[in-house]
């Protein structure tokens, strides 16, 4: 009898994947950021919620606080939660920086990092960040 190993994975539709990449490209060279909302407890993202980067910076992002309240309340009203929190790196790899790790505050979210440092390709990777620890997970893109 083999033990079934439950591996963390991000399952995402092609459509949502493409929307995140397009957002990152559109905002380059500033970092882009946003959320994929999904039904609470489902681990299934289905609603694309691009957010304004209140820092408008090529090296830092922050959700506008008032917009964040509106979006978090909306998710609460819809019985949703932030399944994915994404942002882009515009000159470095798609790996969480020290700052990304120290500010990660949604324990159940998948943290997606996208890199737009190359013109012809966009790196897209996903991580769980808990208590200062980063664990990369595979990204499974579905129809």
């Amino acid at each position: 009898m083999t033990a079934l190993a439950l591996t963390a994975v991000l399952s995402i539709t092609e459509d949502l994947y493409a929307k995140i990449v397009a957002h990152a490209r559109a905002d380059h060279p500033d970092e882009a950021c946003g959320v994929l909302a999904g039904p609470a407890g489902s681990d299934r993202p289905y609603r694309f919620v691009p957010m304004e980067n209140a820092e408008r910076s090529p090296t830092f992002y922050r959700f506008d606080a008032t917009e964040q309240l509106r979006v978090w309340r909306e998710m609460d009203d819809n019985d949703e939660e932030p399944i994915v929190i994404y942002h882009s790196h515009t000159a470095t790899e798609a790996y969480p920086s020290r700052t990304d790790i120290s500010y990660a505050s949604e324990p159940n979210a998948h943290y997606v990092l996208v890199s737009t440092r190359e013109d012809d390709t966009t790196e897209f990777r996903s991580y769980r960040i808990l208590d200062g620890e980063v664990e990369e997970e595979p990204v499974v893109v579905m129809e």
Binding site: E31, C33, M51, E55, T59, F60, Y61, R62, F63, A65, T66, Q68, L69, W72, I85, H87, P96, S97, T99, D100, Y103, A104, S105, E106, P107, N108
Partner: protein
């Protein structure tokens, strides 16, 4: 005098998992001190050197208290205080 305080997921370890707790006080600072008396360690996640931590957003009803008076913001019975950690990084 009850003020409803909404607690984000990451801070629910201080409230035994409760997403909402009630506090009393006439200012935000007093309410947080009141919560601290029942949920030890919570206020250190919200306040540093006597002021609201930079990457924690606190709202009184619909307004970010940074645009009001921070910890000195007056609160009244029936108000809702919402805490959301900032989503940020680099």
């Amino acid at each position: 005098m009850a003020i409803e305080v909404r607690i984000p997921t990451i801070l629910r370890t201080y409230t035994d998992g409760a997403k909402q707790v009630d506090g009393t006080g006439s200012t935000l600072g007093e309410v947080f001190a009141d919560l601290e008396s029942r949920h030890a360690g919570l206020s250190a996640r919200l306040i540093e050197a006597g002021a609201l931590r930079r990457f924690v957003n606190v709202y009184l009803n619909d307004e970010d208290v940074r645009f009001l008076s921070g910890l000195d913001t007056a609160v009244k019975d029936g108000d809702t205080v919402t805490v959301l950690p900032a989503v940020a990084g680099g």
